[in-house]
Symmetry: D4
Subunit: 253 residues, 8 copies
Amino acid sequence: MHEQRLLELLSAIAAGELHPSDGLEQLRALPFDDISFAKVDTHRLLRKGYPETIFCQGKTPEQVVAIAGRMLAHGQNVFGTRCSLTCFQAVQAVHGDAVYHEQARTFSIEAAPPPISSGYVAVVCAGTSDIPVAEEAATTCGALGVQVERVYDVGVAGLHRLLEQRERLTRATAVIVCAGMEGALPSVVAGLVPGLVIAVPTSIGYGASFNGIAALLGMLNSCATGLTVVNIDNGFGAAVAACTVVRMVEKNG
Amino acid sequence: MHEQRLLELLSAIAAGELHPSDGLEQLRALPFDDISFAKVDTHRLLRKGYPETIFCQGKTPEQVVAIAGRMLAHGQNVFGTRCSLTCFQAVQAVHGDAVYHEQARTFSIEAAPPPISSGYVAVVCAGTSDIPVAEEAATTCGALGVQVERVYDVGVAGLHRLLEQRERLTRATAVIVCAGMEGALPSVVAGLVPGLVIAVPTSIGYGASFNGIAALLGMLNSCATGLTVVNIDNGFGAAVAACTVVRMVEKNG
Amino acid sequence: MHEQRLLELLSAIAAGELHPSDGLEQLRALPFDDISFAKVDTHRLLRKGYPETIFCQGKTPEQVVAIAGRMLAHGQNVFGTRCSLTCFQAVQAVHGDAVYHEQARTFSIEAAPPPISSGYVAVVCAGTSDIPVAEEAATTCGALGVQVERVYDVGVAGLHRLLEQRERLTRATAVIVCAGMEGALPSVVAGLVPGLVIAVPTSIGYGASFNGIAALLGMLNSCATGLTVVNIDNGFGAAVAACTVVRMVEKNG
Amino acid sequence: MHEQRLLELLSAIAAGELHPSDGLEQLRALPFDDISFAKVDTHRLLRKGYPETIFCQGKTPEQVVAIAGRMLAHGQNVFGTRCSLTCFQAVQAVHGDAVYHEQARTFSIEAAPPPISSGYVAVVCAGTSDIPVAEEAATTCGALGVQVERVYDVGVAGLHRLLEQRERLTRATAVIVCAGMEGALPSVVAGLVPGLVIAVPTSIGYGASFNGIAALLGMLNSCATGLTVVNIDNGFGAAVAACTVVRMVEKNG
Amino acid sequence: MHEQRLLELLSAIAAGELHPSDGLEQLRALPFDDISFAKVDTHRLLRKGYPETIFCQGKTPEQVVAIAGRMLAHGQNVFGTRCSLTCFQAVQAVHGDAVYHEQARTFSIEAAPPPISSGYVAVVCAGTSDIPVAEEAATTCGALGVQVERVYDVGVAGLHRLLEQRERLTRATAVIVCAGMEGALPSVVAGLVPGLVIAVPTSIGYGASFNGIAALLGMLNSCATGLTVVNIDNGFGAAVAACTVVRMVEKNG
Amino acid sequence: MHEQRLLELLSAIAAGELHPSDGLEQLRALPFDDISFAKVDTHRLLRKGYPETIFCQGKTPEQVVAIAGRMLAHGQNVFGTRCSLTCFQAVQAVHGDAVYHEQARTFSIEAAPPPISSGYVAVVCAGTSDIPVAEEAATTCGALGVQVERVYDVGVAGLHRLLEQRERLTRATAVIVCAGMEGALPSVVAGLVPGLVIAVPTSIGYGASFNGIAALLGMLNSCATGLTVVNIDNGFGAAVAACTVVRMVEKNG
Amino acid sequence: MHEQRLLELLSAIAAGELHPSDGLEQLRALPFDDISFAKVDTHRLLRKGYPETIFCQGKTPEQVVAIAGRMLAHGQNVFGTRCSLTCFQAVQAVHGDAVYHEQARTFSIEAAPPPISSGYVAVVCAGTSDIPVAEEAATTCGALGVQVERVYDVGVAGLHRLLEQRERLTRATAVIVCAGMEGALPSVVAGLVPGLVIAVPTSIGYGASFNGIAALLGMLNSCATGLTVVNIDNGFGAAVAACTVVRMVEKNG
Amino acid sequence: MHEQRLLELLSAIAAGELHPSDGLEQLRALPFDDISFAKVDTHRLLRKGYPETIFCQGKTPEQVVAIAGRMLAHGQNVFGTRCSLTCFQAVQAVHGDAVYHEQARTFSIEAAPPPISSGYVAVVCAGTSDIPVAEEAATTCGALGVQVERVYDVGVAGLHRLLEQRERLTRATAVIVCAGMEGALPSVVAGLVPGLVIAVPTSIGYGASFNGIAALLGMLNSCATGLTVVNIDNGFGAAVAACTVVRMVEKNG
């Protein structure tokens, strides 16, 4: 522990075992890495309650395996996103208990199951094409120990199905809405629910959808209030933000 | 008449009054301009049933006055769009019966009232900021003799007011929907009505609305069917397209 | 039936079988999903007269097969767009009477042939590269029971061939024009015909065509009137809009 | 009251004063506008706990005055954003107790003070140029009855001053960070605090800042987690989202 | 010949073999297709002196073979651009004398060699990566019968080699300069030579070259005079424009 | 004369009046500035036959006056573009014989009239809004001594008027076509005339015309051949390129 | 001094005057703000050797005056950029010795003259329109005590004048090149000189220059080596980077 | 040597062995290519101290082999960038001592080892995905004989590790920082170190990172001073700029 080490150092000075100027030298080296380390530590384990995540895209399978191994050695749960099947197979060859979420393209290795939240995040998407992004969000929530309600069979052509789910949406602590094309679904949802809505534009579409730009702009310019936006296809980021709110509510609940 | 002139020319050749090779020379000059002239004439007066429009932006008041005068001299009704108050005052100084539609920034001088349609176009907009574009559409319909129903007090925050107007929208031959920001209103309307919906993105908004680009992209990528799009702030173009459908229905009705 | 259920509920109250406040609770849940369900039903089968379409891109063959099966079970005709040959083969393995339109990359399974329109839609394109988009439009019209005239061998370098087809274009209820590169063809057509012209920018071109953006911008900024635009490569959307006009004319004819 | 009206209608049926089939006719007319009206009402007053806001940009002073009057007549507090001094003076001429927040360009007229939150939102900005956007956020929180801590004198060149404020930031339920230019400040803040961070790109900058696009992109692509984004210069939207979280925490606390 | 046919028709009228009104009917059919056909014919064979070109990209090999066959049947030379090796092999299987220009990805089948120009076009490019575009230009000139001087081993890092070629450049009737990346070479060349310089941005580069946009913008904004621009990678278009000038000079020489 | 100076220097060495190593020092200084100076001189006066032009935008009136004075002192004609009325008045106050071309926003002061060309440039534009750009082109040609034919009353809505002018266009050595909005006019003209067509996109339009980008892209992607493009609103650049062709034809005529 | 304070704290613990756990509490508060404060202090005064700069754009004159006053109170020199004349006059009213650099729109108030460098920075620009950006760079160098050589009368049309200045450019420690339009000048300069070249795109130009984007892209894609880029119109940033190199050379000289 | 040749020529004239007018002819041919050749020569070998580099992308393996052979024949070291493994294998087949840097995708063949610098360049990157760009920079420094310190295991989530490396960064003559996504790392580094920071945006990221545009814009708009930018993924260019500073410091040291 960081505080423990600092206290030991100061006690050694108090005990005359360490000269103040030598202590100064040790502190000069310490404060940044240790404080920083503590910060990360707190940030990840104590304050935010979730481990680091491996963004696998652009990394070789070897690199992913190595990082996963280092995390497990520190007793942390491992969660990876944007992981191809090939990459996962490399992970699984070493860590047999790794679990792959195929649609989400995420994987997890649990050193110990995270504490489960009482509140939940609703993850909404319009159609089958948006499901991979929605699943990235849902499995991320799962890895962070936050319960999820999936509301997948809704959309512009099926508004009534969305309305049928209104109660589940209304009781959610936060709602993640994934949509491509014109990206109007988050606005509709934000008009129905009391909680924070986090909109995730997806790259689904063609032509002037420009791989999600149309959806992104639509969400940023929404008339609806209580709506914020993350990057295109960033189901992971939406999930962490939503879980942050869930944890904030539970901490103060 | 073009055909008349051709027949006279050929008859003159048959009568030996004109040598074939001289006739060839006359034909070389004729076909394009005359046929073209006939085409434009038909296009404007006979086939489409509406006069040319003056796009005033980028023209001096003097130029607008001159064009209006030339049209009136041909017995045509005059209709001008994107006309500043200053420009209109120059028109009115010469043509005292000119009428200015202030919000629409259009004006009209009627040589003779156009025949009035039986069907109507519904012009919809979300809020007060979009009204100028909607009025450009509505006054254009008026100048073309097509009836208009204005549905202006609707929008995302007042969906119930839109639904209250559903019958008026459903009975319209075509519906023009003007919207800025994320431009989701046309999709909602297209889900409610059986007729063609023409979406007009407006330049209303700020930041990532990019002066109407966000709305334009949203409309182009709409999941709703039966929806087409015109240029940003192009109320005039939407109106002409809608009136084209009204006339088509009436001609075949 | 929605009305039936409402009447039963009110009758139960009238009969004293249900207390008004309990009836209120039941109404609170009812109106949206039931009315919505009725709305969609009317929307698709009664009011618009055409079934839902499966946008296959981004769906697995298994998902497409499942949706098609569900639609057929409801007695609906099935029509799918953006369907790869592989995906179609999966459909055909289950539904032997499925028909694939190779250039259009669409397929259809007819439970019952749709009623055939008397008017027709002209589908125009400039060259061989634009044909897939034009065929998506043409086969969509076919699936909706609307007759089609294909006018494919025209373009800038063959304006005379377009003019030869003027009569077929003029008699069309609506004209769909597909063009890539600078996208000038719709403007030329809109200057020749009395009906609505729906422009479809295609992604054909290179360099500064930016996969159809140049064509899209050209069409949005057209000087020609009576012209509206849909998304890049969206032959399907243009067809539904055109068929909407055909049905409107026939209903009021 | 909507529920009241429904209950009366059902009671009249129960009392035999109204025949079920007549009641059905009345319900057919009711559900959308009334339910919709109830929805908005609940949305604004019961569920979200804050009144509608007037977006003044693009509205004439007369329109703003009229809307404000209508809201006050319903006993609602009035809050307006993007309000020029000229526009405010027109409001104040009619409603003498209207208060203008000059830097924020917002105004408020309180029918009754809103209940004050126990938690607070921290509003952070880097320099003096970003203060107008930050003040739009802060005064919006104020209008919604949510406490605010302003942390304005921080930024890249003064990171130590940000760190000095870490405790105030850490105790906030949500943090709004306004930044222009490269927009890196939200990432730094998100690395320090446990609560949700809502990033507001501002249009401050020049050249390749493209009026806030650089900042917007930077925030959307942030490596930091627990971070979401709103439109450029949208201090209002960030504030409503932040207050949504505050209310969610208090409701469940 | 078009004129011949017209003259025969008029002579038949003059000879009393054809009644004027029957002649009118024949003319009604003639003018567009025949005049149009004559226009294309003149355009291609008499006035511009070069045959149509087949843009192979987006066409199937079968389509290319068919078009080539039709052209040869009319006695025209065939020239195709953007032709893959596979596509060429299909052509060659039918037309054994077809010649493929591999770097240019063009092919030609000569019915009869075109007349050779006395003046020449200089085709300049900076490095080996730009050669395919330069060769498209050079082989196009060849197909049009215009002489070419290739100046390929020049560029920013070898300005002296450009200067060594100044005489060849100065004597050219027109100069085509192909360049990617920042696209500065056309400006330098335009400062050295008296003739028209046609700049061809190439898609060579990476990162912020945006596939030729940087080069295109650089060329459009050049301070040098006597410089015009064509589409990215459009060696063909540059060649036709350059050959147009060569023919204009020779015709008036 | 540069060559003269070099010969004198070498002769002085041959005559023993100058030591080789001293000659080397003089040569080291000479080649670049003198050759460069000669290059500019030739470039402007001998080879290209026209003086430098003053681009007034971004310069103070004082700077323009000073540059004009320096040019006149060297006996050169002065021609300025993008010159506001205010700026011109400052020029005229000093040089009373300066002539202002108001629509073109150009001015000229002639030390001696330039030799007049026998061929001419046709300057075409669609409507009154494009005239300022067309006039910049036309007055530039005038300043360079090249004859101009203005063809201004043509456009999409008046194609017949364009066709009426076909002979004037066909006889032109080069044709400049200025067009805004979708920028389709140059393609039409290039299909009619044998000479080089130089397309000038104008910033006329609104919405998705993006200040001339739509027109620029349309022109770059034109299917028509023999067409090249200059910067948006760059009438000056188009004129210099066109005059370059005129001079090339005359020199070789 | 930070170290001093730490040593005192540790000595107090060693002396038994402070309990280790109390020392821990004090350390918890100290490290970040103190270390940070030291960092800034070193950063500005000791390590980089130049004071903070006031970016005046977006600040009120009152804010600029206040910041300037605070800096002077700490004995620092004051330097402000993007300062309008109005803003400067407010500064001068309080600080009579403030000096305004009108073209650069910068001002300076010297508490004490900075030490003057032995090496110098060459500031190059093409024409009179780019001078304001060049002067922002040059006056920034002056405020940082670094000598400047202005090379302003060069450019594409006057390459010989650039070459005449080659010696001055070659002897510079770093060269700043400001250019708009196609931005080719920095590439040319980088081919001539041995030192680092810092390119500053300017917003000078029109049409497709897009307010400096064309120049920016040209510079980023330059073939020349030893070239780096700063933001559009960012003369200040280029100057600080150049001065950083000058100081680095002198420190190690 | 160039000067030697000039002196011989002048001496021959002085000796009467060469007539002045013949000398003039020889000079006419000489000055540009020889002076130019000398310039390049000096530029590469004497003044800048490093050989030309082969940009392999877009070149065939045969072309790369040929260029490498020509350079080795002149006794130059060979260094190639953007070299695929396939391309390298072709090089190695001919030049067995060629060395491939796999992550960097560069190769080198040393005729003679370059002199090693005393100062060094620090190359920093955030994560494993950015390493290829960083290695392109690092191996380029190596090829130019400049020492490198790699600082790769740092980033937003590990700020403490960056701070631990502060001393190595501070002692560097120049620092290259490679970062994708929001590109904030260079700003942080520039706040810590006294030397020039050269930022390299990488194309790492997804969605609204737009292949490095977000990072590029973030870096161009950085608030930090002493920071310049190169093209996306241009590790090579950053390295040459950094080495230019190292050589400048050593030359003047």
